[in-house]
């Protein structure tokens, strides 16, 4: 990205170098350093904020929020694909506020600083004899970011991270600190469990955990249609189950994960998904103009995918290394609509020979009672489509998104979609409940960026 002299002077002025009498020396120093833009994990979202800050503690965070006139957006690990974060104002990271605050063996609850990465929660919880009830496939997110977007794993008996929140602390637009749970400020707690960062800064999160446990994961390749036909049994007999249908083929990778008392560890053999994705990309490059050949090769060679099994502590099994970056669209549908929807997506990809090679992701999530949760009021099937970060996703996603709409889907808040307030107010029966609390806590829209104004239908 190239910056003009005007951009540089504007940025220097924003930093106070000109107005504060910093003089030529400071301006020259600023000119010698590049201006660092913020980008999300995939690189698909970017902004040049006026300031990037990481307060050391709650008191300085509250002071900063109170004293900031412009827009503030909180950022976790930048793993949202939708434009939740970009701002011209202040980008606020909680990276200095991370780690376990405390754990209670009686209530099986724990409290973490909001900036704690989910990847850093398993070990301290294990030391306290506890574990998360369920976890997502990727654990790079911070816990405040994960609950703000209703991030989830798979398993029809398990809700999202947000559904396991039993209390949280919020720094509001006025700089006030509010502790809320089911008994204290319940009207705020009810909506704050999924808030897109629009109610304030979540500095602490209290979670319902369980006793530490171990998991057995089995992964294999099978015909997608056989797996879909057998889905009712597979999700009934396994604690956690998902499939990854391979585009342009007739097969899917199936993953069944179940609690075990087996003390013998069979660790994850290691390695991310980069090599496998690179091979799929090569095949797609060579064969995409010969769809029948591509399908035959994929079907034939994926049959050789070995059955893999892992046994370990739960947090070491749930999460996988995802070192191949991508952009993603995910919709949450009524659970019963899952098989028909994924069949239609796979058919569309084949018929239109859409240019993508990342496998789909097909999971189940238990319904909850949080107004802005994608799982509000209904057990859900979550279906995701991905595009390699180097490839344009617009054409592919625009062909798939209307299929999700047809099945009454709600887009994942942290993933790409094209909806706005008009659609959301119909998709979420209690959307108004959230809007009322938001307007009361932040009437001036300090925590809103352009994307959120569109989502909420507000102009403040």
């Amino acid at each position: 990205m190239s910056l003009t002299r005007r951009d540089l002077i504007k940025h220097a002025a924003a930093l106070g170098l000109l107005g504060a009498g910093g003089g030529v020396a400071q301006l020259a120093q600023a000119a010698s350093s590049r201006i660092i833009p913020w980008r999300n994990w995939s690189g698909g979202q970017a902004c040049i904020p006026e300031a990037r800050v990481a307060p050391e503690d709650e008191a300085s965070l509250a002071e900063l929020v109170r004293g900031t006139k412009g827009e503030i957006r909180a950022v976790g690990s930048g793993h949202s694909f939708s434009p939740l974060v970009p701002t011209d104002g202040t980008l606020l990271s909680l990276s200095n506020m991370s780690g376990l605050i405390g754990a209670d063996a009686q209530t099986l609850q724990s409290e973490f600083w909001g900036g704690t990465r989910v990847a850093d929660m398993g070990e301290p919880l294990l030391k306290a004899g506890l574990a998360m009830l369920n976890m997502a496939d990727i654990d790079y997110q911070t816990i405040a970011g994960a609950i703000s977007t209703s991030t989830h794993g798979t398993g029809p008996k398990f809700g999202s991270y947000s559904s396991t929140v039993v209390g949280l602390r919020l720094v509001t637009a006025s700089g006030d600190i509010i502790d809320c749970d089911a008994a204290k400020h319940p009207e705020i707690f009810n909506v704050a469990r999924v808030s897109l960062g629009a109610l304030g800064i979540i500095t602490r999160v209290r979670l319902q955990n369980r006793k530490a446990f171990r998991l057995h994961e089995k992964m294999w390749v099978q015909k997608t249609e056989e797996l879909l036909e057998d889905m009712p049994r597979l999700i009934k007999e396994n604690d956690h189950f998902e499939i990854n249908p391979v585009l342009h083929s007739d097969v899917a990778v199936a993953t069944a994960t179940n609690e075990t008392t087996d003390p013998h560890t069979r660790p994850n053999p290691g390695g991310g998904d980069g090599d496998a994705v690179a091979r799929l990309m090569e095949l797609n490059t060579y064969a995409r103009n010969h769809p029948k050949v591509q399908a035959a090769l994929l079907n034939f060679f994926l049959k050789h995918f070995p059955v893999t099994e892992v046994v370990d502590d739960s947090f070491r099994v749930f999460a996988h290394v995802r070192d191949q970056r991508f952009n993603e669209m995910e919709y949450e549908l009524p659970a019963e609509a899952g098989p028909a929807c994924v069949r239609e997506i796979l058919k569309t990809v084949r018929e239109q020979n859409l240019d993508s090679f990342f496998p789909l992701e097909y999971r189940y999530v238990k319904g909850d009672d949080i107004p802005l949760s994608m799982f509000e009021g209904r057990d859900t099937c979550a279906i995701s489509v991905h595009q390699d970060y180097r490839l344009d996703y617009h054409n592919f996603f625009s062909q798939i998104e209307p299929i999700f709409w047809k099945y009454d889907g709600r887009p994942h808040w942290g993933k790409l979609h094209t909806l706005n307030h008009n659609q959301f107010s119909k998709l979420y029966p209690r959307f108004k409940d959230f809007l009322e609390v938001r307007a009361a806590l932040d009437p001036g829209g300090k925590f809103l960026n352009g994307h959120l104004r569109s989502v909420f239908g507000v102009s403040c």
């Binding site: 833009p37 994990w41 930048g78 990276s95 200095n96 990465r117 994850n268 290691g270 991310g272 690179a278």
Partner: protein, 128 residues
């Protein structure tokens, strides 16, 4: 025409072989050396408290996890070709992201100097 068919066939066979090898965990070596299974030497904790904090809260998620494929902290051999590209290129890759490396290494508040310091700690080399 026959030549074109043969070329396509060879390319497909190469990709397919590559695919099945990868499925069996025997993929071809990448052009840039990836991390060793285990770093050759144990790396002492950073002397600088700020570097320690940045490394501990962000970089170690990949640069202390061999499965990530990222060059591991303390693995000078894996870092050497990266360091050889020069400070500007390394900084550009960190700030804007490069292949598996996410933009800013997920350190949202880091400055250019922070990125240099933590890279020099992990690589054990001075960025020029």
């Amino acid at each position: 025409m026959n030549k074109m068919r043969n070329t396509l066939g060879a390319a497909l066979a190469a990709a397919a072989c590559s695919l099945v090898l990868s499925a069996c965990g025997k993929g071809a070596a990448p052009a840039t050396p990836a991390a060793s299974a285990t770093p050759p030497t144990a790396l002492a904790a950073p002397a600088d408290a700020k570097v320690a904090k940045i490394f501990g809260s962000t970089c170690k998620s990949c640069h202390a996890v061999p499965a990530s494929g990222a060059p591991q902290a303390g693995d000078a051999q894996a870092w050497a070709p990266r360091v050889a590209q020069g400070k500007d290129t390394v900084l550009n890759h960190i700030i804007n992201g490069y292949k598996g490396m996410p933009p800013m290494g997920m350190c949202m508040q880091c400055s250019e100097d922070d990125f240099v310091a933590v890279t020099e700690y992990m690589s054990g080399a001075k960025l020029q």
